[in-house]
C-alpha cells in the first residue's frame, strides 16, 4: 500500500514537472455529465457538440454521460467525489446548486479564465443579465456558465379572448387585469387562469408574484432569504383572491396537467415554463398567444411584471488532481456549450431559451421566430426577471419555502402569519453560521 502511494506521488510529480512541456499534445478525456428534464434526442445532440469540439481541439475528447434527473446528477456527482472518486470534469446542473458546490469546494470559478480573455466584460455581457444572476457569488465572481435556461410565461387562448370580447392581441399586463380578464373568461367549462402552484415547487411561480410585488425571496447575498415580508403576504393574498373569486382552482393546478388542460380548453390562461411551448404548439388546435407574467400591481405604465429564471448551468469540477491543461480543456468545453451556435441549436432541439442575445440573431432561431413569434416572449421578458432561490443550504431553504407556501396556498395553514414567522426564523437560524464571513 505504502509503496503504491509513493509510486503514485512520484508519478504525479513527474507529470506536474513535465506538464508545461506536454500541454500542447497531451491526450485529454473529459467526463461530461448531463441530466434530462425534457424529452428529446439529448444524447445525440451532445455527441454532436462533442464531435465539433474535438474537431477544434484534436487532443481532447468528451465522454458524454447521461446521469438521470437534476437531483440524481447532483447526488451522483457529490457521492462520487466524496467517495474519493474523480467525479465529472464538467457537468450541467441546476444553477441554484451553486452554493452547495462552493461549500463542498469541488468546483472551480470560471472567473479566473474569463479574466484571461482579451475582453472579459464583453464575454460576460453577451449573456442575458437575468441568467447571470445565478452564476455569480456575492462578490460578483462568475462560477458557472448559463446553459439550458428557462423562465415561466403566460399562455392564453386567443379564441376564448375573442369569444368574451377581449382583444386577442392584448394579454393582461398586471394583476388587476389578470383578475378582470380571468373573471370574464371563466365559465362552467373552464377556468379563467390556471397556475401550477400545487406541485413540488410552488415557490418557482410564487416568485413571479413576489418579484412583481417588489421583493424577491432571495437577493444577491446567499446568506439571506426574504420569506416573512409584505411582498410575500400581498402575493399570497392575490393568489387567495384568484381562488376565492372562482377563476382559478383553489390551491392551484398540477404541474404536468396544466398545459394539457390549456390544450383541452379547460383553462383560458396558464402560467407555465417556456419549455412547454413546443408541446403546446404541437397539440393546440386554436390560436394561442404568449405574454409576460402579470403578477403584480400596475406601475405608472400600467405594467406589473415579474418572473424568476430556471434551469441548468455548466459547472467545472476539480478534485485537486487535475492538470492545468485538463482544466483549460474543461473551460474550453464549457465555453463551447455556451456559445451562440450551440445555444441556438439547443433551443431548437429542446425549447430552452438560448442564453445570449447573439444566439437569437442566428439563422436557425430567426427562422423559428419567423414561424412562431411566441418564442420571443421569453427572452423579452428577461428584463423583468430576477434570480431563482439560491442560498447556502439551498436544498433545506428551498424545502422550507416550498413547504410553507404549499401549506398556506392549499388552505392548510390555520395561521399563515405565524407560519411565515416560524419558517423565517428557521431559515435565519440555518443561515446564521454563514453570515459575517
Amino acid at each position: 500500500m505504502k509503496h503504491k502511494l509513493v509510486f503514485v506521488f512520484l508519478l504525479l510529480g513527474a507529470l506536474v514537472w513535465s506538464a508545461p512541456a506536454l500541454a500542447q499534445d497531451e491526450e485529454i478525456v473529459l467526463d461530461f455529465y448531463y441530466p434530462a428534464a425534457v424529452s428529446g434526442p439529448l444524447q445525440e445532440a451532445f455527441e454532436r457538440y462533442a464531435a465539433s469540439f474535438t474537431e477544434m481541439h484534436p487532443n481532447v475528447s468528451i465522454n458524454v454521460v447521461f446521469t438521470g434527473s437534476y437531483g440524481q446528477t447532483r447526488e451522483t456527482v457529490r457521492t462520487e467525489i466524496e467517495g474519493g472518486g474523480a467525479g465529472p470534469d464538467v457537468a450541467v446542473m441546476l444553477s441554484v446548486d451553486l452554493y452547495s458546490f462552493i461549500e463542498d469546494g469541488t468546483i472551480i470559478s470560471a472567473q479566473q479564465y474569463i479574466d484571461l480573455l482579451e475582453d472579459p466584460q464583453d464575454f460576460v455581457d453577451d449573456f442575458f443579465p437575468a441568467f447571470m444572476l445565478n452564476s455569480v457569488d456575492a462578490e460578483g465572481n462568475v462560477w458557472t456558465l448559463p446553459f439550458q435556461r428557462s423562465t415561466p410565461i403566460l399562455y392564453y387562448n386567443k379564441e376564448h379572448f375573442a369569444e368574451v370580447g377581449l382583444d386577442p392581441e392584448q394579454p393582461p399586463r398586471n394583476l388587476d387585469e389578470l383578475i378582470e380578464f380571468a373573471e370574464l373568461l371563466t365559465n362552467d367549462e373552464r377556468d379563467g387562469i390556471q397556475i401550477p402552484l400545487a406541485g413540488d415547487f410552488p415557490s418557482w411561480l410564487f416568485q413571479s408574484f413576489a418579484i412583481a410585488h417588489g421583493q424577491n425571496l432571495v437577493s444577491h447575498d446567499p446568506t439571506e432569504a426574504f420569506l416573512n415580508t409584505e411582498a410575500t403576504k400581498a402575493s399570497l393574498a392575490a393568489i387567495q383572491e384568484l381562488g376565492d373569486r372562482g377563476v382559478m382552482p383553489v390551491g392551484g393546478s398540477a404541474w404536468g396537467d396544466t398545459p394539457t388542460n390549456f390544450i383541452a380548453g379547460a383553462a383560458s390562461m396558464i402560467y407555465h415554463t417556456t419549455g412547454s411551448l413546443t408541446f403546446i404548439r404541437n397539440n393546440a388546435t386554436f390560436e394561442f398567444g404568449t405574454g409576460f407574467l402579470p403578477s403584480g400591481p400596475p406601475n405608472e405604465d400600467g405594467e406589473g411584471y415579474g418572473a424568476p429564471t430556471g434551469g441548468g448551468n455548466v459547472y467545472i469540477f476539480d478534485n485537486g488532481t487535475h492538470s492545468e491543461a485538463e482544466l483549460q480543456a474543461a473551460w474550453e468545453w464549457a465555453v463551447h456549450l455556451a456559445s451562440a451556435d450551440i445555444q441556438a441549436d439547443w433551443t431548437t432541439t429542446t425549447g430552452y431559451i438560448a442564453t445570449r442575445p447573439s444566439a437569437w440573431e442566428s439563422e436557425a432561431l430567426q427562422n423559428l421566430v419567423a414561424e412562431w413569434p411566441q418564442y420571443t416572449t421569453a427572452p423579452a421578458q428577461l428584463q423583468y426577471a430576477d434570480k431563482e432561490i439560491a442560498t447556502y443550504r439551498s436544498i433545506d431553504v428551498q424545502v422550507m419555502i416550498n413547504t410553507v407556501l404549499s401549506d398556506i396556498i392549499s388552505g392548510n395553514e390555520s395561521d399563515p402569519d405565524l407560519a411565515l414567522e416560524i419558517y423565517q426564523e428557521q431559515i435565519d437560524s440555518l443561515l446564521e453560521p454563514y453570515r459575517g464571513e
Binding site: 398540477a254 383541452a264 422550507m400 401549506d407 392549499s410 388552505g411
Partner: protein
C-alpha cells in the same frame, strides 16, 4: 422449543468440523443480516443523536435534540412530521379496514363453483401483478384533473368535478383507494388458501344443526381464519408503513404534505446531508413502530398457535 435431534451430535468425520457446522450454516445469512439490518440500525441510532451546523464540520453529540425537533411545532421539520405520521396511520388503517373484509368476502365468493371462475379471479388478482408504479400511473390518469376518467364521468352527469389529487381533503382517500385496489387481491389469495384448508364436513355438520349462513360465518369461518387474519394484519401494516411508489407518481406527498408518509418523507429529505440527524431519528422511530407492532403480534400469533394445538 422442541427436542433437538440426536443427529446433530458428532458422529464421524473431523470433530471440529462437526462442532463448527451449525455456525458455518448460519454464517451467510447472519453476515447479510448484520450488514444490512443490524449495522444500519445501529448507525441510524448513532446518527440520530448527532448533528452538525455546517457541511465539512464534525458531527457533535446533541442528545435527544433531533427527536425533540420532530415533535416541535416551531421547527420546520416538526411542523410537517406529526402530520406525516398521522397520514401514515390513517393510510395504513384505512386500507386494512376496507381491504381485509373485502378480501375475505371476495375469497368466499370465489371459493365456490361458478362459471368462468378463472376469469373472475383474474379480474381481482391482476393488480397484484402490476408494479405499483404502473398501477399508480393508471390511477393518476383516472384521477387527473380535467381529462381524467372520474371527472369526465362526473361532468357527463353534470355533477361538477373533484380535484382528487390536488385537494388536501381528497388526496389521502384517493391514495388509499388505489392501495385497496392493489392489495385486496393479494390478501384474498391468503384467505382463499385458508378457506380451502377448512374441511367441508364442518359446515355440513353446522348446517344439520340448523346454523344459517351468518352463524356459520361468524362461528366457524371467522375463528378458523384467525391466524390468516393476524398474518395479513402484520404484513398489511408492514407494507403500509413502507409506502413510497404511489406517492412518487400521485403528487409526491402534495399538496401541503397531506398525502406524504414516513418512508417517502425520509426518501425526500435524504439528499440534504445536513439533515442526517433528523432523517436518522425518523428512521429510528419508524423502525421502533414496526418493531413494537410486529413483535407484539408475533407473540399473539405464536400463542394463538398453541391454543389451536391444545
Amino acid at each position: 422449543m422442541t427436542v433437538v435431534s440426536p443427529a446433530a451430535e458428532p458422529r464421524r468425520g473431523k470433530p471440529w468440523l462437526q462442532r463448527a457446522l451449525p455456525y458455518l450454516l448460519v454464517a451467510p445469512t447472519l453476515i447479510f443480516i448484520t450488514m444490512f439490518t443490524l449495522r444500519p440500525a445501529v448507525q441510524a441510532l448513532w446518527d440520530s443523536a448527532h448533528s452538525r451546523p455546517r457541511a465539512n464540520q464534525p458531527f457533535a453529540y446533541v442528545g435527544s435534540q433531533n427527536y425533540e425537533d420532530l415533535f416541535n411545532e416551531r421547527h420546520f421539520i416538526g411542523r410537517q412530521y406529526v402530520k406525516i405520521l398521522h397520514n401514515t396511520l390513517v393510510f395504513t388503517g384505512g386500507t386494512l379496514v376496507v381491504s381485509l373484509p373485502l378480501a375475505l368476502l371476495l375469497a368466499m365468493l370465489l371459493n365456490r363453483k361458478i362459471r368462468a371462475l378463472g376469469l373472475w379471479r383474474f379480474c381481482v388478482f391482476y393488480p397484484v401483478l402490476l408494479p405499483m408504479i404502473g398501477g399508480a400511473t393508471i390511477w393518476a390518469f383516472l384521477f387527473s384533473d380535467s381529462i381524467g376518467l372520474l371527472n369526465t364521468i362526473l361532468r357527463s352527469f353534470n355533477l361538477g368535478t373533484v380535484p382528487w389529487l390536488l385537494d388536501p381533503d381528497t388526496v389521502l382517500p384517493s391514495v388509499i383507494a388505489v392501495n385497496i385496489w392493489k392489495q385486496t387481491g393479494y390478501f384474498m389469495l391468503f384467505y382463499l388458501a385458508g378457506l380451502q384448508g377448512i374441511p367441508r364436513d364442518i359446515y355440513e355438520a353446522a348446517e344439520l344443526d340448523g346454523a344459517g349462513l351468518f352463524r356459520q360465518f361468524w362461528n366457524l369461518t371467522l375463528p378458523l381464519l384467525r391466524r390468516t387474519t393476524l398474518f395479513l394484519l402484520i404484513i398489511g401494516v408492514t407494507f403500509g408503513f413502507q409506502t413510497v411508489e404511489q406517492l412518487e407518481v400521485m403528487g409526491r406527498g402534495n399538496p401541503a404534505n397531506r398525502s406524504n408518509m414516513l418512508l417517502y418523507y425520509i426518501f425526500q429529505l435524504r439528499n440534504e446531508k445536513l439533515n442526517t440527524g433528523h432523517v436518522a431519528a425518523m428512521t429510528v422511530i419508524l423502525a421502533l413502530i414496526l418493531l413494537i407492532f410486529t413483535s407484539s403480534n408475533f407473540f399473539l400469533f405464536e400463542r394463538g398457535r398453541h391454543d389451536e394445538k391444545a
